[in-house]
């Protein structure tokens, strides 16, 4: 364990203790100050970002990676707006979620408190530095940030600006710390800080997430991938089903809440699938179908077993015709990543059963899978989506960055 990482952990624990007692006004003030500081420091942010972008260009990292790395005017505005939005969210800390009275007169309740110290290990987008730090601060936590080496100068510059804002309003600057070395050993050291870090949240590709889950000594909140399904029931409204499937697949195919497999009831398939194939053809979606699908859509490729497990993140879709909803649910139970599944139906009983029996982080009736996102569901902003069930299942907002302690008010109660 390197001494400097250990020291960061110690400072974070101390800062977390102070942050946990900070009142809502102070935290809101800090977030507003961060927003105005990013606005004022446009030049230094641009200069730091240029170093990263130039290095990426020299290394020929490719256009997509360089795009993600670049802090354009628009990206900066989004960071500033994000800070303002988070500043306006209600403070979850101190909320007493329930309170009841025991037969002996003891009043017992649960009070929301911060989780403590949160570690974030992430890849290229520098906006994560700002977005993640904002949510952690709002919920009264301290955060240790470890960004990708390609964005080192940008992240370091952004973290420095945020730290200064904390200090200016009288909060501990060490509530936001950025790991200043880019080697992989520093990540391993961070993942070993079980005494000082309460939870680790990886943000990035599946490889990064698996690496963090493998090596972390503290709990990890994560999702590996989103193999999301839409089931079009025999009683679906045809136009609604066409709209939802197009939106779920093609509105933004490269994200985890996009549809990857379409399941269609055999009674509606002969009418629905040819129409759907037309729509998908126009949208440039490649289909890979089961035998019945291939019989209904001329020229459709055959799906193999691997297609049912695939997260394409692209304009490709696996399609299967099922004899009934029971088989659709069995397919989902076997192949889904428990991220997001939707049913399109006008039938109350089947909608009711689908919601009860499908155990994914979001189950929708008659709406697009693309809604599995903290902002879209009304959580305000999200720090990620969890597909493991412990602590958080689904999008994680400020509330998921807290826990509850029990409190009890008595007048001398003793245990007998």
């Amino acid at each position: 364990m390197r001494q400097e990482i250990l020291e960061m952990g110690r400072k974070a624990r101390e800062a977390a203790h102070q942050m946990g007692m900070a009142n809502s006004d102070r935290k809101r003030e800090a977030l507003e100050k961060m927003a105005s500081a990013l606005d004022q420091e446009r030049l230094s942010i641009a200069a730091a970002n240029r170093k990263d972008v130039e290095a990426a260009e020299r290394k020929e990292l490719g256009k997509a990676k360089i795009d993600r790395l670049t802090i354009s005017e628009k990206v900066l505005e989004e960071m500033i707006d994000g800070l303002k939005e988070v500043s306006l969210l209600p403070d979850p800390v101190g909320e007493i979620t329930r309170m009841w009275t025991r037969p002996n007169g003891l009043q017992v309740g649960r009070m929301r408190i911060p989780l403590g110290v949160i570690g974030i290990v992430y890849e290229s987008r520098p906006n994560v530095t700002v977005d993640a730090a904002a949510l952690c601060i709002k919920a009264g936590n301290a955060v240790l940030l470890r960004g990708g080496s390609e964005a080192f100068h940008s992240n370091d510059c952004l973290a420095g600006i945020l730290r200064k804002a904390l200090k200016e309003v009288g909060l501990p600057e060490d509530a936001i710390q950025f790991v200043q070395t880019t080697d992989r050993q520093a990540v391993l050291d961070l993942l070993g800080l079980e005494e000082y870090v309460d939870v680790m949240i990886p943000r990035g590709g599946e490889d990064l997430i698996r690496f963090v889950a493998e090596h972390a000594r503290m709990p990890v909140l994560k999702h590996y991938k989103g193999v999301c399904h839409v089931y079009v029931d025999s009683d679906a409204d045809m136009q609604m089903a066409l709209n939802i499937c197009l939106n779920a697949k093609a509105q933004r195919p490269g994200v985890c809440n996009a549809m990857e497999t379409l399941l269609v009831h055999e009674a509606i398939a002969p009418v629905f699938l040819p129409k759907m194939a037309e729509v998908f053809k126009t949208a440039g979606v490649e289909l890979r179908g089961c035998e019945k699908t291939m019989a209904l859509i001329p020229g459709c490729k055959a799906a193999v077993e691997d297609d049912w497990y695939a997260e394409y993140l692209d304009l490709i879709l696996a399609v299967r015709v099922v004899p009934d909803m029971g088989e659709a649910i069995r397919h989902i139970t076997k192949y889904s990543s428990q991220h997001t599944e939707a049913i399109v139906t006008a039938n109350f009983e089947r909608a009711h059963r689908f919601v009860r029996e499908v155990q994914s982080s979001l189950v929708l009736v008659n709406a697009s899978t693309r809604f599995n996102d903290g902002f879209q569901l009304g959580l305000g902003a999200e720090i990620g989506i969890s597909t493991s069930r412990l602590h958080a299942f689904g999008p994680m907002g400020v509330e998921e960055l807290t826990t509850t302690k029990f409190i009890a008010f008595g007048n001398g109660q003793l245990r007998s």
Copy 2:
């Protein structure tokens, strides 16, 4: 990975899926059937238990261990009553904890669902087999049980009776599985079943818990120890403080919610401590004090640094006089295990501040630390106490054996 343990995991996952859809009546029926089956099988339980007790006697395991191992009539009655109690608890599964409507008309809510498969690794008391299985079943989970080798025959017999009851009401018997080998490798195999076990709960001594936390590949809900504090404020009611301190220390000293360190405000110490010392002397409590304490209590031993960290689980108490409440909170923040802390005071402002600033799983005002227990706090029954903050902090009842998924009801909403 041994094949039979892997197979248990597979069966548990399948059983968990069915349990998650079981309705409340069926689960209640199963628990009632388990209670009557234990009643009817008294002879076979006694015979199995005799094997374990006789083996323990041959190995000369000591009276305390043999007592814990023995299923007396009283212990059996408690197991039966426990099953009946759990059967009557409200079913947490399916509860919609909140529901709201988005501006686009999408109704979004959170619905309580089971965690899935729960692993329990525990030591000698065979009642854990029954108590833990009951709570897991109530919350719609499957459970994998691994008890201590000394109680093998008792646990195996009890688990067999519970499985039969599940089958008789039409629920999958594999929702309760008992690991039938006693070697340590089986525990390691179980702790490696990350694909099939959603959470592991160790029950036993600190060594067992550390072993599980070290080797488990899935999340672990645990507490290592309880170094619980009572702070007697300058404005404490003298008699209430005496009663609470005696109850917290001596009512049952061998448990995790017993007081281990007493902090006393210096303004009240000269009157309070000599009286308290009298009471503790009568109760047979040995005191280890700071210098100021020693000056007020003739014959009091000196506390050394290790005493402030100690979980005595015995009639021993560390005592420190503090200049103010701030110092009491700093002491707690440094030495406490975040289990349970109490303040005794008549002062509203200090009670309010203590509750806000002390971040332990239960913070009490004017009541004994001994109340940190699921049954005492009104949760019905508990599967353990968590002192790590993720998912659960404090006693864990049936609700803590569940999670929530998001649900959404729409009429064709698309993401734009």
